[in-house]
């Protein structure tokens, strides 16, 4: 049943593509897939982004394909079986920033371009470029915002994600740097690892609050789930003294901002990443190449970084941030081709 429904959707999509193709300037017959690292609510906007990109840019098909579990092996298998089915390019989130590279190299050897979206692959890589929020910068800016919310002094706790994830190490360093820049006015009380899992996170964060809620001035959560769990915990505790800066715009975190339990959250732009990502992959598959002198940013992970936009959501802009992100996406897309690609 599911299959027929998918076929139906595909047929409609194809029909639309064909109908629009005389109008759309860049109509292509490419099949493109957006592949996250595994099932995760962060990527939910990619489904809409894929559908919109297919329609707006006249691409034959843009599919949102999710590995069944958050495992490198499953993402690799998904890539290779899709490539075997004739997919012409991929936008992907690296489930593992280093491990994905050998697969990307093989894709490239078969003339299938790939771009990293939402998170970067570690250089050296054959990924064409990375469009994401800079992991390091986001954690650094988030901590800065937290310190400001705390009035420039007090003790902070860092709620970090999976320890085996190399990005976690970067975030730990970023938080330490932001704290160190206060010259002792702010201290890092504790770093709590592996909180990016509902059940473990709930237990650890509550134990932390139990142990030292009177000493903690603020918490910076750098994982999606860590933010959700911390927001829930503070709400249950009824504590507005402890400032919390989270990441991403999960509904629970946004509700926390409205209720005053969460000071703010670092929004990323998953829709824009998916939407512009699909557009760029289609162009690359059509033969465009990345300009040698494109205005890329260099980050600790990669020398070909494009900032997809990040902003702090607080009570001031909670109603309007989605429009801000949409505007950002539009601007980025409009100038993207000229800035970063050379097409013959």
């Amino acid at each position: 049943m599911q299959v027929t429904r998918m076929r139906g959707a595909l047929a409609v999509g194809l029909a639309l593509g064909v109908a629009l193709s005389p109008l759309a300037a860049m109509a292509s017959d490419n099949k493109i897939a957006l592949v996250p690292g595994g099932p995760h609510p962060y990527f939910a906007p990619w489904e809409q982004a894929a559908a919109d990109a297919q329609k707006d840019f006249g691409i034959a098909s843009v599919e949102y394909k999710v590995p069944a579990e958050w495992k490198l092996e499953l993402q690799t298998e998904l890539f290779e079986s899709l490539a075997a089915q004739g997919y012409a390019g991929f936008g992907y989130f690296p489930g593992d920033a280093v491990g994905v590279n050998s697969t990307v190299a093989e894709l490239k050897a078969n003339d299938i371009p790939a771009v990293a979206l939402g998170g970067c692959a570690q250089d050296p890589t054959d990924t064409a470029f990375c469009m994401a929020t800079d992991v390091y910068a986001s954690a650094y800016l988030g901590t800065k915002a937290l310190i400001e919310a705390m009035g420039g002094k007090g003790a902070v706790v860092h709620l970090a994600g999976l320890l085996v994830d190399p990005n976690t190490t970067l975030r730990v360093q970023a938080v330490e740097k932001a704290v160190a820049e206060t010259n002792g006015a702010v201290t890092l009380l504790q770093t709590l690892g592996d909180t990016d899992n509902q059940e473990q996170g709930d237990q650890k964060i509550n134990a932390l609050l139990a142990a030292q809620k009177d000493q903690i001035g603020g918490m910076i959560a750098t994982g999606y789930i860590s933010s959700v769990v911390a927001a829930t915990a503070l709400k249950n505790l009824g504590d507005k003294k402890i400032k919390l800066i989270g990441i991403d715009d999960d509904k629970i975190v946004l509700d926390g901002i409205k209720d005053g339990f969460v000071a703010g959250t670092m929004a990323q732009n998953p829709y824009g990443q998916g939407y512009i990502g699909a557009y760029a992959v289609d162009l690359l598959a059509e033969g465009c190449t990345v300009k040698a002198d494109a205005p890329f940013i260099t980050t600790p992970q990669t020398a070909k970084f494009i900032d997809s936009g990040t902003l702090l959501i607080s009570s001031a802009n909670i109603e309007s941030y989605k429009d801000d992100l949409k505007k950002l996406t539009g601007e980025l897309q409009a100038s993207f081709k000229d800035k970063f690609l050379s097409c013959s």
């Binding site: 939910a44 320890l163 709930d202 134990a207 932390l208 609050l209 139990a210």
Partner: protein
């Protein structure tokens, strides 16, 4: 004293008491009302998960789908409440019934096909996880009834309201395995299936009932996890597997079947919860947490074994 040390779980109890005293001395926050509440609340779900596996070990089988089943029930219950607006109680009842039905499928397939329960439940675990993902697309259900969420966070002094459920289940299970005929039949089958068969016990029926019971317990665990977290997360259950085996086996259950200890399982869950709580309280470097967890579990088990050898337990 000696007779106390003859008890199989006495070593774990000594470990808990010693650890508790050491913690209270080194981190005064340990004995605060809120921390004890957090500790007790953190063991509620684990305890039911451990019981769910313990029942299977009792009948001499394993259920690798404990986590997937619990996660599916969590999402079904949350989905009924959020997407379909079903009131709390009926939603919970449907969720529990779905868990029992899924357990029945496990048991029925094991008995009817003669395929090893290990493989059957591995395959159904994949199937349950697929339904979970298919329903949610990895996006949680958020809008749950306020009374249900309040139950997950409520407390009377240091006692979480959630704890009522596992305590009730503990009493019921204790009675079931000591007094009720089906419970004793399960243990007989686990101890020696052919002998049980000869003495008139229906082995298939015992195995299917154990699977149903295991499914019900995992379902209750999944629903409690939803209440505790305040939203129906598709990831619920994804890391239950190891604790589900670790607690009953540290508590004295035999992998070969027939021997289980409810008190032992309970104490093992408390011990593991205590160790995890201690890691946060004494601010262990995050990179050391996992190493110390392993070392402490090994120490506790070794201590219990040492005790057993000293009192001449076989």
């Amino acid at each position: 004293m000696r007779s106390f040390f003859r008890l199989q779980w006495s070593g774990i109890l000594v470990g808990i008491i010693a650890g508790g005293i050491a913690l209270a001395l080194s981190a005064p926050a340990f004995l605060s009302e809120f921390n004890l509440f957090v500790l007790l609340r953190s063991i509620c779900v684990s305890l039911l998960v451990a019981y769910s596996q313990m029942v299977m070990l009792g009948v001499g089988q394993m259920n690798l789908s404990v986590g997937a089943l619990g996660g599916l029930v969590a999402v079904v219950t949350g989905g009924l409440m959020d997407a379909l607006g079903v009131p709390t109680l009926p939603a919970i009842m449907i969720g529990v019934a779905a868990g029992g039905a899924a357990g029945f499928v496990n048991g029925w397939l094991t008995v009817k096909t003669g395929i090893n329960g290990f493989i059957v439940t591995l395959a159904t675990a994949s199937a349950f996880a697929g339904i979970n993902l298919g329903i949610t697309k990895a996006v949680p259900f958020y809008n749950l009834p306020a009374d249900f969420v309040a139950f997950g966070n409520g407390r009377l002094g240091l006692f979480p309201l959630l704890l009522i459920v596992p305590l009730l289940v503990t009493v019921v299970l204790a009675l079931f395995f000591s007094r009720a005929v089906p419970g004793r039949h399960m243990l007989a089958v686990g101890g020696n299936a052919p002998a049980a068969q000869l003495s008139g016990v229906s082995v298939p029926r015992a195995i299917i009932s154990a699977h149903v019971l295991s499914g019900l317990l995992a379902a209750v665990a999944g629903i409690l996890a939803v209440a505790q977290l305040g939203s129906a997360q598709p990831t619920i259950g994804s890391d239950w597997l190891v604790i589900s085996f670790a607690a009953p086996i540290i508590g004295g259950a035999s992998l070969a079947g027939g021997a289980i200890s409810i008190v032992g399982t309970l104490l093992a869950v408390v011990l593991i919860g205590l160790i995890q709580n201690a890691m946060v309280l004494v601010k262990v470097d995050p990179y050391w947490v996992q190493f110390l967890l392993g070392a402490l579990i090994l120490a506790a088990v070794w201590f219990n074994r040492y005790r057993a050898v000293r009192v001449g337990e076989s």
